[in-house]
Amino acid sequence: MELTAEEWDAVALSAKVALCATALCLPTGILFGWLMARREFAGKWILDTLVQLPMVLPPVVPGYLLLLLLGTRGPIGKWLLDAFGIVIAFTWKGAVLASATMAFPLMVQPVRLAFRLIDQRLEQAALTLGATPWRAFATITVPLAFPGIVAGSVLCFSRSLGEFGATMAFVGNIPGETRTLPLAIYSYTHVPNGDAAAMRLALLSILLALAALGTSHWIGRRAERLLGQSRPRDERA
């Protein structure tokens, strides 16, 4: 299966956007998931609803809202441009932000569940052994939540690879800048003789999705073994 330069551009851009979106969602998702699992505060359900909202809205809507806010004439977008000369709309950075917005709830859900399932007395045990709360979080909580964090990251990455509606609305479909895999497939289906290229990219999308799921499965199995949730023969001795 030979890809043209333009098709490679779309694949490379998709990989870059999805990796950056996952990198953006990972620390924020861990923090937010922990907050939702462990803390009670006023307005918690409002914050929770807002974060979950992109999952149930038509993706074009968050994309359009991002454009209103971060477009060069939007309140935040204008400020970023005037103060720092940064443009986000219609650039690959905007594609990252659109993907991250759509994928964030998928990162948060498994992370939150993982934090909720951890016995808090393990963290207390760490505190009584001289660990500061941050150290206990880093050495006990996060490693124990690792399978959930991996699951969230893979979902986030896969969702970002497939992002279409919000990206289209916020950053458009510019070859080499914002034309990711799904946008490229969509474009090829609209040009004469584009079917073969669309099919190649569609197959590639399926392969990437399978690879992501396979990796997640493999890491999840390894993590479970390390956490002692299954009993492999080689550790019995």
Binding site: R121, L129, G228
Partner: protein, 215 residues
Amino acid sequence: MLNIDVEFRRGSFTLAAKVDIEGGVTGVFGPSGSGKSTLLALLAGLLKAQRGTLTFDGRTLADAATGTFVPAWQRHFGLVFQDGQLFPHLSVRSNLLYGYRHLAPSERRFELDTVTKLLEIDPLLRRRPVHLSGGERQRVALGRALLYSPRLLLMDEPLSSLDERLKQQILPFLKRVKEETGVPMIYVSHSRAEVDYLADRVLLMSEGRLGAAGS
């Protein structure tokens, strides 16, 4: 050594304790639900009393009136939980060294070798907690707390999840720890026999009240 004068309320439950505790092993005996675990959590710094003071060797650990509160990780007390609470993602060795690694070398009173020999857990070092029996788990939990060189060792029903045969196996280890390390202990249990076997003096906990029960 330890001067307790605290009052702690949660819902309809109130715990009130006013007692001075000296070195050696102090047993706290009482039925389940009498507030024994809450008392240990207050001493360990995992809970904050609404009223009163707590001092250890002259240092104020908690004073509700002035807002002084030394958190758990600065109290330097060991706490052994009912079911061990070993970290499942770490090997026995890493569990044992978890608190030890938070100490400056000059603060370390016990070494890994000494403690593993004392508790006869040296063959288990490379295992994960899931592959340990209940009795092994509690010995590792005890070793982990000891290696943190605690100034006071708090034990929250450390044998209650074990069957009678295992209890009889572990009790001598606890006695050995008492005799060979000299670490002061507060040993909480609903079993009068255990408390009598180990403790130099016994306090009685009943419906949130801590009082003397002879020695």
